[in-house]
């Protein structure tokens, strides 16, 4: 059973990448839908298995950890696998209607999409540092390919910028891996954590950890290394932007979080933890401020990603040298933030795409009077915005609440300013868009209603992120079980 599930999870995306590469756009779309059904079912089933029986290690090819590659299938991993399945399915469905089938280069969307999905699954399940590196590259290159799709000058420029940042980040990570291998003779993350807890030298490994965190932070677009993100996410086609903002940046963050949670006790330091937290805080404010000033709709959303990613980095100061209960709370907060941001941001980009399709322009001001036509997409955009603002009952609120509680419990009150102020700033940029849609003095009479199926997909995502706060408890309970397992191994 698990064998089949793992086969489905790891190899379906790869196989579908090949199949869709051979087909044209329309046939590729049909094939993709079938694949999406399979992937979602497999992800759900795996999640159910882990929720019921707990996590497990999965040695590939039958070779145990230091020699071969072992996958770690625990609750956090399957939660993210499931999240990926949901968001990627939504983006894939949306793209099928959104992309113009007659542009011949759009056929390459499907194979790149599937490779991206495959890479994400590699990262969620990976426990081998080098395997994670390959997974990261799989993600980065397919993401760059997706951004460049169509090959216009602006898109190319964004893609090149993105590629350069991604490559530098990967190399920094790989250098850290090289140092780890030199010191421990193993590539398995759990193996290294085990060796460290049994008294290996630590100074050198600390340097390696910093290198890896730097590389991963660069790929996650942590301030001040965020410069590549807004152009890339802004220029890409909307379903691509959704994938990039919702999932791709989370991949590198996830590795950073895993590294930190496994290795922070021996290798972390107060300064490093606080530094990451402070950079995250600056990102929250800087990203929010920039989002407020962007003239283009998708740039607003892209800068909002910079801000929302900032919250994630509060994980580091809140798990360093704190009690188990607080650390757990911070991890739960991080997980909820990842999930809710992924859902909300995907909804936002997809609905932004619909709005742009409707009014024929990417500028925020062009939305004047749009609410007149009651576009569903505007509503989805607003609902997703509620989650970004961190208002109840959304998942964003639940995450913020847990972060607040963790900060208060550790006495690190300064994060309160970030959490509360950041929420207000995001309200400001969301309402700026909303406000534009209520302006009545423009006389737009032309409004193109996108197909309902295009509008329903972001709506579903937005509702999911809205309702996440209400069902946070069951979602987190699966994760809590897992964290206990994950730390035990």
């Amino acid at each position: 059973m698990t064998l089949l599930l793992m086969a489905g999870l790891l190899f379906t995306p790869l196989a579908w990448a090949v199949l869709t590469l051979l087909a044209g756009f329309r046939r590729g779309r049909g094939i993709t839908w079938l694949g999406i059904v399979i992937q979602v079912l497999v992800s759900l089933a795996l999640w159910a298995v882990v929720a019921g029986e707990g996590g497990f290690q999965y040695p590939l090819g039958g070779w145990q950890a230091p020699l071969g590659i072992e996958l770690r299938v625990d609750g956090l991993a399957v939660t993210f696998v499931l999240l990926t399945a949901l968001v990627a399915a939504a983006s894939g469905l949306h793209a099928g209607f959104y992309l113009d089938p007659d542009k011949q280069w759009h056929r390459y969307f499907w194979p790149l999409f599937w490779f991206l999905w495959a890479g994400l699954n590699v990262v969620w399940l990976g426990n081998d540092l080098f395997n994670l590196y390959v997974g990261l590259e799989l993600i980065s290159l397919s993401a760059v390919g997706l951004v460049a799709l169509g090959g216009q000058a602006e898109a190319l420029r964004a893609a090149i910028r993105y590629l350069m940042a991604a490559l530098l980040g990967s190399l920094a990570y790989l250098l850290g891996v090289a140092l780890f291998y030199g010191q421990f003779g193993s590539l398995s993350l759990s193996g290294i954590a085990f060796a460290l807890s049994h008294g290996s030298a630590q100074g050198a490994a600390g340097f390696a950890l910093i290198l890896m965190l730097f590389g991963l932070a660069l790929k996650t677009a942590l301030y001040p290394m965020h410069w590549w993100l807004p152009p890339a996410h802004g220029i890409a086609r909307s379903p691509v932007s959704a994938l990039l903002s919702a999932l791709v940046v989370k991949g590198s963050f996830y590795i950073a979080a895993r590294l930190w949670l496994e290795l922070e006790a021996p290798l972390g330091s107060l300064a490093l933890a606080q530094l990451l937290g402070i950079l995250g805080s600056i990102a929250v404010f800087w990203g929010g401020w920039q989002a407020l000033r962007q003239p283009k709709l998708k740039q607003v959303v892209a800068y909002s990603s910079v801000a929302q990613i900032g919250y994630l980095f509060l994980l580091f100061p809140l798990t360093w040298n704190t009690t188990e209960a607080v650390a757990l709370q911070a991890q739960q907060a991080m997980t909820l933030q990842v999930i809710s941001h992924a859902l909300a941001k995907a909804a936002m980009f997809l609905s932004a795409g619909n709005l742009i399709l409707s009014v024929g322009s990417n500028r925020v001001n062009a939305l004047a009077g749009v609410s007149h036509f009651l576009p569903f997409s505007l509503f989805s955009f607003g609902l997703a915005g509620v989650s970004l603002m961190g208002l109840p009952p959304t998942g964003g609120f639940a995450a913020k609440w847990l972060f607040l509680q963790a900060s208060l419990a550790t006495g690190q009150w300064w994060w309160l300013v970030v959490l509360v102020g950041g929420g207000l700033l995001s309200a400001a940029y969301v309402f700026r868009v909303y406000r534009a849609s209520f302006v009545e003095d423009s006389n737009i009479d032309h409004f193109f209603h996108p197909a309902r199926r295009l509008e329903i997909i972001p709506m579903v995502l937005a509702l999911l992120s809205l309702g996440l706060g209400l069902i946070a408890e069951p979602v987190l309970s699966v994760m809590a079980l897992v964290f206990a397992n994950g730390e035990g191994t």
Partner: protein, 116 residues
């Protein structure tokens, strides 16, 4: 000091040189070369450090082979993108951010495409 350790240290130096170039050079192809220099440095560290104590170690060799393929793939893709960018925009470097905003707001109204 064994030769392997020397390789590793040389790799460190290459990383530094590559990083210097990567940050400072704006010409895209040369930036890419700097990246490859850095990559070679990392591979040297990976192999040299591991082989320093126990002699030839096939694992890092295999890793480096994999790494090389990945680096080649990335490089080749980057070259295609850069060449095409040069073909369309006539530039060998990315514009800096300041000029970009200027162009967006300037008199040359950028045509807004319906599909963004």
């Amino acid at each position: 000091m064994t030769p392997s350790l020397l390789y590793a240290l040389a790799g460190a130096a290459l990383c530094g040189i590559g990083l210097f170039g990567f940050i400072l050079i704006s010409h895209l192809l040369r930036k890419l070369l700097a990246f490859n220099l850095m990559g070679s440095g990392v591979f040297l560290v990976l192999v040299g450090l591991a082989q320093h104590r126990s002699g030839p170690d096939p694992v890092p060799q295999a890793l480096v082979l994999t790494g090389i393929v990945v680096a080649i793939a990335a490089t080749a893709l980057a070259v295609v993108l850069i060449r095409r960018y040069y073909h369309l925009a006539g530039k060998t470097a990315l514009d800096d951010a300041a000029r970009e905003t200027l162009r967006d707001q300037g008199s040359r109204q950028v045509r807004e495409e319906p599909g963004e």
